[in-house]
């Protein structure tokens, strides 16, 4: 913690970055914050811990309002993966972002069933062992096709259409969201049209989802969204040899369809 704080302090005071996105503890609740040189004392209240917020999403928001500012982020593995994907989708200039990487605890990695519970660079903390199997995933895969279909239909039927899965997702950056398009999915119903709403989102995330699990954590209906999106990631990995957030170079397979402009065009 001390060395992380020091590194950020140095970068801020030296003017290497204009601000660093991380978590601050206030009124007993950790929450996202932009640490700056002007309020350097706030660094004393910087925290890392179990609570996770979409820091890469916050970074993107700040970047959009001030595209010139060079920003840093206190990043876990998934935050770094999100920065990489946002860069690939031309939302951020990844090279311009300074990563203050932190490794997740083994407990967190197990809870997330995370294949890469640490960022690749600038690491603070001990690396936990990757968890490559997901038993939640395997359990569902072992069901018959009909059982699996019924399982998902029951789960989707609980949806209260809060859009929390989309709102919290660091990779949901489209200016106009297909999930609000009345022609595709009728608006104004609870639950939304099952299973279209959820499958449209799943397809949309296939080559973007960095498996952070924030969507599932935000879902009031308790739908195992992360497992659904893991499936999509797997399909993309096996079909195209591309894993969002992990594959370093090149474009996503669907980006080729839109001549690299997919992320920008799909909002129509």
């Amino acid at each position: 913690m001390g060395s992380l704080r020091e590194a950020i302090r140095k970068a801020l005071t030296a003017g290497e970055v204009a601000g660093v996105v991380g978590l601050i503890l206030e009124e007993g609740h950790p929450r996202p914050h932009l640490f700056t040189k002007e309020a350097i004392d706030e660094l004393e209240r910087l925290v890392v811990g179990d609570v996770r917020y979409p820091l890469a999403g916050v970074l993107l928001k700040i970047h959009r309002s001030d595209p010139e500012a060079r920003l840093g982020i206190v990043a876990r593995g998934c935050d770094e993966r999100a920065v990489l994907e946002l860069d690939r989708n031309e939302q951020l200039n990844g090279e311009g972002v300074v990563i203050f990487g932190i490794a997740c605890t083994q407990e967190q990695a197990n809870a997330c069933q995370c294949a890469q519970p640490y960022p690749s660079s600038h690491l603070f903390g001990e690396r936990a062992a990757p968890v490559s199997d997901s038993e939640r995933f395997d359990r569902l895969e072992s069901l018959s096709k009909e059982e699996r279909f019924q399982y998902w239909m029951d789960q989707f039927g609980k949806c209260i259409k809060c859009y929390g899965c989309r709102n919290i997702c660091p990779m949901c950056f489209c200016p106009d969201c297909v999930l609000e398009d009345n022609d595709l999915i009728k608006t104004g119903n609870i639950p939304p049209e099952v299973p279209i709403f959820h499958l449209v989102r799943a397809f949309h995330m296939a080559e973007r989802c960095v498996d952070c699990g924030l969507c599932e954590e935000a879902c009031p209906a308790g739908i195992p969204l992360r497992t659904l999106y893991k499936k999509m990631r797997n399909v993309v990995t096996t079909q195209f040899g591309f894993t969002p957030g992990i594959t370093k170079e090149g474009k996503g397979p669907l980006q080729y369809l839109g001549d690299g402009e997919f992320g920008k065009q799909e909002g129509h």
């Binding site: 009124e27 209260i160 608006t187 104004g188 009031p220």
Partner: protein
């Protein structure tokens, strides 16, 4: 709520009655989903097959306005079968014999006839609720917005006491409050018959305490309720009305009458953040700030006093509501309104209201505290009535079933139910200015059962004129089996096609709640 929202997760059986929970209180629904995941049985009683009903283990499709009959019917079975909690009834209640006598009149066959719920389902529900160790009741406006609203609430209390499902962890009676601070505005005595903290106007010691604190002599005669105030404008002597943050020109029943009343005032002061339909009728308008521009406290449906905090500066030349009232008081030359901040006001509240005595801004900085909290070191009261009821023994109040005030007839053959849509709130003054919500839905509709639609040759999307004895509105038809044949549903958030043009101002005789949930209408094709 006698319990906390989170406790519902641990309930083994939850009876939801008159609450469209996933639409109106979605995060309460989350805790119910979790309870179900852990094996709890869910019973839903509602005239509409709501989202949560489709998820229930048992759904009782009652006829509108027959809740007392259903609850009495369940109690009849529970007592006949000996499933009631004998120890609880003996030790903590009185009036059981009288209840039993009344219940004789509610055998399943009769109840099935009144309510439309088959006997077998009544039995199943009675057994499920009574025999489960930790059962909880959750209810909302579907129970209270009736001429028999109080009777409905009393019946639920009877059910929970007879089965001993009250005063325990995850077990109690849990009304869901529609608006963020219903609980707090009542706690603060924004009601005509008590002083803050439910302290009696008839109690000399209480009145002297307030008189000493405020330095005035207080009026002892209870005031008028909202509906009485509306009735007393003009002839009845009300000349000046101060409306803070409300929109009675849309929210009250029979609004055509309400608008006339508001127009008859000599002085209508309206304090609000948006130019509402009521603002349009005002003589003077005081622009207030939104929740994001001021400090203060709200009380949740489970009695939790929580902070709101100022996040941005007031927009334009607006002022926080608390400051505006102080400004008006100062302009009148009154003392006792010299507050520099809401925390000072809260300190005065805590000094006068025993339920809040132990609460301060410092104590609720991190997390809210659930009242009663009588002292500075008293913990949050997670659930009420643990070892005793506030009045000692709980009294059974036998209530007989009474039919709603206005039922369908030949001329007006449909029952109209009004209520919330999941994407909007109250009169829509905030939600209809939110793009994510208007993107979902931005015009009124009427839900019509497919059989009725077929009979009347109504197609989805067609404009329908709904007419009651009080007025008419034109709205778009949605054809759906959510409503029963013979009933239609209209949400009340849309001022331009206000459901309250139609509703019946008949009141519950005790608490004066209008019967928003039932009136008779007819359907005409508008195009």
């Amino acid at each position: 709520m006698t319990n906390s929202v989170e406790e519902l997760e641990d309930a083994a059986c939850i009876m939801i009655i008159g609450s469209n929970t996933t639409a109106s209180h979605p995060i309460v629904a989350m805790h119910i989903f979790r309870a179900k995941e852990k094996g709890a049985k869910i019973i839903v009683i509602d005239p509409r097959k709501t989202h949560i009903a489709s998820y229930a283990d048992l759904y009782l499709a009652e006829k509108s306005g027959t809740d007392v009959a259903i609850i009495n019917g369940l109690l009849h079975i529970i007592i006949k079968e000996g499933w009631y909690d004998k120890q609880f009834v003996e030790e903590r209640t009185e009036g059981f014999v009288e209840l039993k006598t009344l219940l004789e009149e509610y055998p399943p066959a009769r109840v099935a006839e009144i309510t439309g719920v088959p006997e077998a389902q009544l039995r199943q529900a009675a057994e499920m609720f009574a025999k489960t160790k930790q059962s909880s009741i959750v209810y909302c406006m579907g129970i209270t917005q009736h001429t028999v609203g109080v009777d409905n609430v009393l019946s639920l209390a009877n059910l929970s006491m007879a089965t001993g499902h009250i005063g325990k962890w995850a077990s109690g009676v849990n009304p869901l409050r529609g608006q963020n601070n219903v609980q707090g505005s009542t706690d603060m005595a924004a009601i005509p018959n008590v002083l803050p903290g439910y302290q009696s106007l008839a109690d000399d010691a209480v009145v002297s305490k307030f008189e000493a604190a405020w330095g005035v002599t207080l009026p002892r005669k209870p005031g008028l309720t909202l509906m009485e105030i509306m009735g007393a404008i003009g002839t009845g002597g009300i000349k000046a009305l101060y409306v803070m943050g409300e929109n009675p020109a849309v929210s009250d029943p029979d609004i055509q009458h309400v608008k006339k009343a508001l127009e008859a005032l000599e002085l209508l002061i309206v304090q609000d953040i948006f130019p509402t339909e009521t603002v349009a009728l005002a003589h003077v308008v005081l622009p207030a700030v939104s929740f994001a521009e001021r400090d203060g406290t709200f009380v949740t449906t489970d009695r939790r006093v929580q902070r709101i905090r100022k996040a941005i500066e007031p927009i334009g030349d607006t002022r926080p509501g608390w400051q505006i009232i102080c400004d008006v008081a100062h302009a009148m030359g009154a003392g006792g309104f010299d507050f520099a901040s809401p925390s000072e006001i809260f300190a005065e509240i805590a000094s006068l209201v025993p339920l809040y005595a132990g609460i301060s801004y410092e104590r609720i900085a991190e997390n809210g505290i659930q009242w009663p909290c009588p002292t500075k070191d008293a913990p949050s009261t997670v659930f009420l009535h643990k070892d005793r009821f506030s009045k000692g023994l709980g009294t059974f109040k036998p209530v007989a079933y009474k039919a709603p005030a206005e039922l369908p007839d030949e001329e007006y053959p449909f029952i109209l139910i009004t209520g919330r849509d999941g994407f909007h709130f109250h009169t829509g003054s905030m939600t209809r200015r939110s793009k994510s919500l208007t993107a979902q839905i931005n015009r009124c509709y009427v839900q019509i059962h497919p059989l009725d639609a077929k009979k009347l040759k109504i197609k989805a999307g067609q404009m329908i004129r709904l007419r009651s004895r009080r007025g008419a509105i034109e709205v778009e038809a949605r054809i759906t089996p959510i409503v029963q044949s013979g009933s239609v549903f209209v949400p009340f958030h849309f001022a331009e096609t206000a459901a309250n043009v139609l509703t019946n101002p008949a009141l519950d005789p005790v608490v004066k709640i209008p019967e928003y949930k039932i009136c008779a209408v007819k359907l005409e094709k508008a195009t």
